[in-house]
């Protein structure tokens, strides 16, 4: 499945937040979306997963504009993990994950054994099967985030849209979640804060600043000292880790360099 935006413009309270952005996620490609706070990453993703309507431009799934497709049809093919929101009503973890099956079900149909099997597999994948009887609202932030990933896994989609999925997680679960997503072997479009995670997992990256794409290309070619300086206004060094063979970024602040001078 291929996901594409063409010159998408999104405005919030009459201000253009996303300005003519075109991105493309090819089949099974892991694409990162980076950029400072307020650069429009979340807004762009929301227009892709249909919470916001773009003011102009097209969003295409396999070259078909999603405008003419029902939300149920897109939900069968594209899953979303965003930052968890608090819900006022409580469900058990199992019920929560089972809801990932709903795009595939008719309104009145019962959950079958197959649905339970898929939900339990998804829970096992995020290491949360033992929590299935717990109430969702009693979980910690990181646990909630893993349940939401499990729900999306149960959706059995061909494309994942992630909005800072590792935000509330400690490092173990950041890596776990990214590993799970990577191992699915499906197309991914992920807004990420952590440049090192981006370097570890993304095949291709788009850099967003002030609502525009300022750079894009294979991850290692795009994330450079100069780019980070110009986009994030932070000094750093980008070096290769011998063990992983991947690049990694070390940031400097003026304060941390002071002692050295």
């Amino acid at each position: 499945m291929k996901l594409e935006t063409k010159d998408v413009v999104v405005n919030l309270s009459k201000k253009d937040i996303v300005k003519k952005v075109s991105v493309q996620v090819k089949d099974k490609q892991f694409v990162g979306l980076i950029g400072p706070n307020g650069s429009g990453k979340t807004t762009l993703l929301k227009s892709i997963y249909r919470v916001l309507k773009p003011a102009a431009g097209e969003i295409l799934i396999d070259d078909i504009d999603i405008k003419g497709v029902s939300v149920k049809e897109t939900a069968k093919r594209m899953g979303v993990v965003s930052q968890f929101n608090n819900i006022a009503f409580d469900f058990t973890v199992e019920e929560m994950v089972l809801m990932g099956r709903s795009p595939h079900k008719k309104a009145f149909s019962q959950d079958t054994e197959e649905d339970y099997r898929i939900a339990h597999e998804a829970l096992a994948k995020v290491d949360m099967l033992d929590f299935k009887e717990r109430n969702y609202t009693t979980l910690s932030g990181g646990e909630k985030q893993r349940i939401l990933l499990a729900r999306t896994l149960a959706q059995q989609v061909e494309m994942l849209v992630l909005d800072e999925p590792t935000n509330h997680l400690d490092i173990k679960y950041q890596i776990q979640i990214m590993d799970i997503v990577k191992s699915l072997g499906i197309g991914v479009l992920a807004a990420l804060h952590d440049l090192n995670l981006t370097l570890m997992y993304c095949d291709y990256v788009y850099v967003l600043k002030d609502g525009k794409i300022v750079a894009n290309g294979p991850t290692e070619e795009v994330i450079t000292r100069d780019l980070i300086k110009s986009v994030y206004e932070v000094d750093c060094s980008v070096e290769r880790n011998e063990r992983t063979g991947k690049l990694y970024v070390t940031f400097y602040s003026n304060l941390s360099l002071e002692g050295k001078r």
Binding site: V71, V80, A88, F89, D90, Y116, T137
Partner: protein
Amino acid sequence: MDNIETKKYTNARHALLRLLIIVFLIGLILSIMLAVTVGAVKIAFSDVYKIVIYNATHIKLGNFDFAVLLGDLDFVSRGTMYEIVWNVRMPRVMMGAIVGMLLAMCGVVMQATVQNPLADPYILGISSGASLGATFSIMIGASAVFTGTLAQMGTAFWAFAGALGSMALVMALANVGGGRITSAKLVLAGCVVGSLCGAFTNIIVYIGQDAENMKNVTYWLMGSMASARWNNLALPGICAVLGLLFFLTQMRTMNTLLLGDEAAITLGVDLSKWRKVYMVLTSLLSAVAVCTCGIVGFVGLMIPHIVRGFVGSDHRFLLPIASLTGGIFLIWTDVLARVIIQNSEIPIGVITSAIGAPIFVYMMIKKSYGFGGQDR
């Protein structure tokens, strides 16, 4: 191995909840049977059932009328006892069951629709609009303003018209400025229309001089099942059955709605469409309930709450159990309304609140309250 264990747990819980639906259904039928025997006039159990069974079945075979088995044909088909049991008590009890079910059902759906457990079926200004309509009809009278058909319409019609008018106004206000209808917009629009209608209602009452009318308005505003007759039972009854059948097909969508706007959309629910459909339907259904019985507060807000505390948020179980509970609850509060003071009647709204408030406080104190969870 773990999977097998989970399935057992799930099935056991679901089986229990399904059993609970049947238990409550039986409870509702038993409540109807028992409530009809209670009233200001003492009538023997056996006489009550003779009348009910005869009139409910009308068993005839050729020239042979089974009524002779029940005793005197005259006794069961005419006379004071027949009037009290079959034409006063029975419709009242049925009305209690129907209105209770309607309000509780609408409460459940409304709370899912606006994703707020504090919503009630009156959130779209139904109660305030209905009050205004009823007050207008009682204090001023339609014939003073309108001619022709409109002048002939009774309080129920004007209450219904007021309810629908305020619903339309609230929906229009929530739509102002474009964008999706959010629950915050709805609640605010409901408040605006509520206070507007309240102002008009008050001015009508203030100007009005007739003490008798004023008493009638007050009485209407607190709700009563006393006006229930067989002929005004049909509409709410049909609405309750059709409404319940429709919402039973919507349980999966409603469950998803509880997760919030974003989650609902990403799980394939066309939020804007369903939100509008549910709001209009619940408003219509609660308007039907209100226009025959006045404002019966509390049931639509608290019954879904209390039931959710025990069975959880899953609408497959919450919706039917809450509806049945609402019916049972209103049957018995109406019984209390009839018998608590001899030879007089207390407005049912007073009793629903008087019983409901302490129950709710008890639940809060117990800290068992998590908007529908099991962890205590």
